[in-house]
């Protein structure tokens, strides 16, 4: 059991939130498959992705819930905040409205998650920031100030080029891991969004699944 996808110590649960069309699913796809989906369909309800990463020498499996940005799915997506260890809050640097809505996303997150949930702010689509800044609608400084005022971690990233995508997911995980080390996050609490890998059974255990003969 030492090799490959089954070797990890912890499971962290993430949630990705933000307005419709800011690139939440593309960020997830870029992170899990290292690919950019050019014409990504609107998410219906929720999507799911997983990847194992390395945090301070420990293997951690991330279970990531990607939520629909559309208002009509809000009842479904809100129910996923609970039990998330990390929340990635995404806006589009070329659309000011998506930035303006951050405070309401933040209120939701603060109310519905637990106090130890790590919130990471991502300004997506930074590849569209041309030299003269024509497409950019939200400055880095402005967003950085918002993040600092609210105690959030922040980067500008691009799901298209992959810039800073890894960093956002990994930094969040590091912070969560740090919380565990400091004892601020209780692994056993029902809604911490963090759990240990299940205890491994001995080799005498045989799964009661049929041998597929076809």
């Amino acid at each position: 059991m030492s090799a490959g996808p089954y070797n990890y110590e912890y499971i962290f649960k993430y949630i990705i939130i933000g307005d419709m069309g800011v690139g939440k699913s593309c960020l997830l796809h870029q992170f899990t498959d290292k690919k950019f989906m050019a014409d990504c369909p609107h998410t219906i309800g929720v999507e799911f992705g997983t990847r194992i990463i390395d945090v301070a020498g420990q293997k951690v499996k991330l279970q990531i819930w990607d939520t629909a940005g559309q208002e009509r799915f809000r009842a479904v997506t809100r129910s996923y905040y609970r039990g998330a260890a990390g929340a990635l809050m995404v806006y589009d640097i070329t659309r000011r409205s998506t930035y303006n809505h951050l405070s309401s996303w933040l209120t939701d997150t603060r109310t519905l998650t637990n106090p130890s949930t790590v919130i990471f702010l991502i300004g997506n689509k930074c590849d569209l920031d041309s030299a003269d800044g024509s497409q950019r609608d939200v400055t880095y400084e402005e967003a950085k100030q918002f993040a600092d005022e609210n105690g959030l971690m922040f980067v500008e990233a691009s799901a298209k080029t992959g810039d800073n995508v890894e960093e956002a997911f990994l930094e969040t995980a590091k912070k969560i891991y740090q919380s565990i080390q400091d004892g601020r996050l209780d692994l056993n609490a029902a809604e911490s969004g963090v759990q240990h890998k299940p205890p491994q059974l001995g080799s005498d255990f045989t799964p009661n699944k049929d041998p597929c003969s076809c």
Partner: protein, 459 residues
Amino acid sequence: MASFVKNQNNTSVSIPNVELNPQGVAMYNISVKVSDVTWFVQHRYSDFVDLHKKLVEDHSVAKDALPPKKVIGNKDPQFLEKRRFGLENYLKMLISFLQRTMPQELVVFLDFHKYDTLFLLNELASDLFLHGDLYLSSSKSFTLDSLQLHAISERLKQPCSSLEIQGKMQDFSHILDFCSQLKTLHVQNCEEFVGRSSIKYNSLPFDLTIFKSLEKLCLTNVIVSNIFSVGSLRTSLKSLHVNNCRVTLMSEFLLCDEMHKNLETVNSAHVWKDLIEVDFSRNNISSIGNAVLLIPNAEKLVLADNKIFDLGNMTVLSHLRVLNLSGNCLSDKSIENLHQKIGKIVSLSMAQNSLQSLEDFSKLYALESLDVGSNSIKDIKKVEQISSLPCLDYLVLTGNPVATIVDYRIKVFELFGDRAQDLCLDNEKPTQKELDTAAVLKALRIAKEGRSPIFSPPS
């Protein structure tokens, strides 16, 4: 399937009757009804006592709520009726008192974990959390039924229930985590009804979007029109087996996510481009038709035990090497110009059809294995038509009238001449005696025709 979360106020429990089992123990038949779904579960009085004990300890149920024990005369019909009534009221009280928490003991006692979306998924999630990695690393395939797949599909449309996060082991994430990594899935429904419930397996729609790395899918006894989305399967699936699913056209599955199964409007997005092995055995397919356009890269096609009489447009399957059409309705007419359709075929089975001639096999020059057992081939001369195929080394003719004529094996070997020793006929290599006799016969025939015999020493 039942959804307690959606129907908490529309859930009722009753004990319609009590019966004595062969051992003389009184068994109470409990009926649980959640909206329009009903199921039955049977318990004896001592099961109620065990349940009650746990509920009193952990969930502050009143200690005197359960009808008391009685040692003597406890099989008296009047007493049983009185107790039945008492136990029924006890269960009704539990459901109304505990519906916000639904402790696991009560869930299992009333079989909610077998029929209800939430509780069934809780059970599956903890199994996959504990053993999922082991299944993925050691087991070749994982089996789910329509009920479980339906529950997952339904759950994805609903918000997380407050009943769900009781323990992190039961987290729905574990199911999706497992399914997104699974390589081989077997969907199989064994019975018509789910356990002792009114739920029919084949009335449950589901989709396959959560299986993101699936390479092999086996459907057995599944109504494919219940599948509403195949997600990313078109790009990941390499091997497909649809067996005993009463399919009449392959497109019923291959286009199951399309409202109109019209092959004229399909585009490249509908093509199963990595599908190499396709098995639609034991269905009701009568024609292969144009569905092959959707599986252009198939190398192995198995359509055994259908009703096929028409091979249709098989020329598009340029990679096809193995074809199994045994147990169909093929006649000589259906296989006219076979070499133009499946010229590169290496292994072909057309056993148990109605073939009388082997003429159309004579130009399948790549053929190594041919099974035409149990057809209507009568004359040994017909076999001559395939004797010059250069690679043929496995031939099945048994079950044909020709296999009953005198010296049948020797006559076949004679036709194959020098290559007879490489030919495995009806699963048996020729004996030296058969080869010798065949060689003598051949020499005699040549002499009779007035030509000088050419002997070639056996190598």
